[in-house]
């Protein structure tokens, strides 16, 4: 499943930025990046830049604002990558 693959990839990108007290096993699509996973806003920028590199996409301020949960991030990546190929 394509969706599952991109979910796994996303977790790999987020993983290094998770604070020590967050168990990566507890992360799911509804996890809020800042409020629940305790990723600070400076690291959120790094995650966005890593996503841009990995998927060869360009993310804007509004994408950053919409990216509240893991699921939101997946959705934005999906939109950006489909727009690029279609």
């Amino acid at each position: 499943m394509k969706n599952t693959d991109s979910y796994k990839e996303l977790l790999e990108i987020i993983g290094p930025y998770l604070p020590e007290d967050i168990d990566p096993g507890t992360v799911d699509k509804n996890s809020h990046l800042i409020n629940e996973l305790n990723i600070n806003s400076a690291h959120l920028v790094d995650i966005v830049l890593d996503l841009e590199d990995r998927y060869d996409i360009l993310l804007e301020d509004e994408d950053m604002q919409k990216m509240q949960t893991v699921g939101d991030a997946l959705e934005i990546i999906g939109l950006k990558t489909s727009g690029k190929n279609g």
């Binding site: 600070n40 400076a42 920028v45």
Partner: protein
């Protein structure tokens, strides 16, 4: 350019005794260079170290951050189109430094900062601080978030 240097210095959010920039010598969207003289009579030399004064690494880091990150960040924030407001707030978010040579009281150091990226208000820069004799004293990477007043 002189006028631009002065304006950046004016916009720095630091004042004595915690301002570690005397002047700038170069400023482009990619890089910045500036200098500072660590005053030999500064209080902290009495204790760092007892009878062997050396500039503390935290202050070398601060000097690198003020010149290499904050001066560049203020300049880049201005370049975004809108007129920069008087106050630029900055929060340092990361620093990773390596210290190679001691800097003694009264030394005039030179700092170079080089932009790695400036996206979503976050600037990350490579910084290098050179001793009066030109030797590299410390280097590293520093990042911070820049916010203009009202945003």
């Amino acid at each position: 350019m002189e006028k631009e240097f002065a304006e950046i210095l004016h916009r720095l959010p630091y004042g004595p005794p915690f301002r570690f920039v005397d002047g700038l010598t170069r400023l482009t969207p990619e890089a910045v260079e500036g200098f500072y003289t660590f005053q030999a009579e500064s209080d902290f030399y009495k204790g760092h170290f007892k009878n062997a004064p050396v500039t503390p690494g935290v202050l070398l880091t601060e000097c690198c951050a003020q010149i290499g990150l904050v001066c560049l960040g203020i300049y880049l924030s201005r370049g975004m189109g809108e007129l920069a407001t008087e106050a630029t707030a900055v929060a340092m978010t990361e620093s990773e430094m390596e210290f190679l040579k001691p800097v003694y009281p009264g030394e005039r150091v030179q700092v170079r900062g080089e932009k790695m990226y400036f996206r979503f208000q976050k600037l990350k820069a490579k910084v290098r601080l050179y001793k009066a004799n030109g030797e590299l004293a410390c280097r590293g990477q520093i990042a911070g978030i820049f916010k203009s007043a009202g945003t």
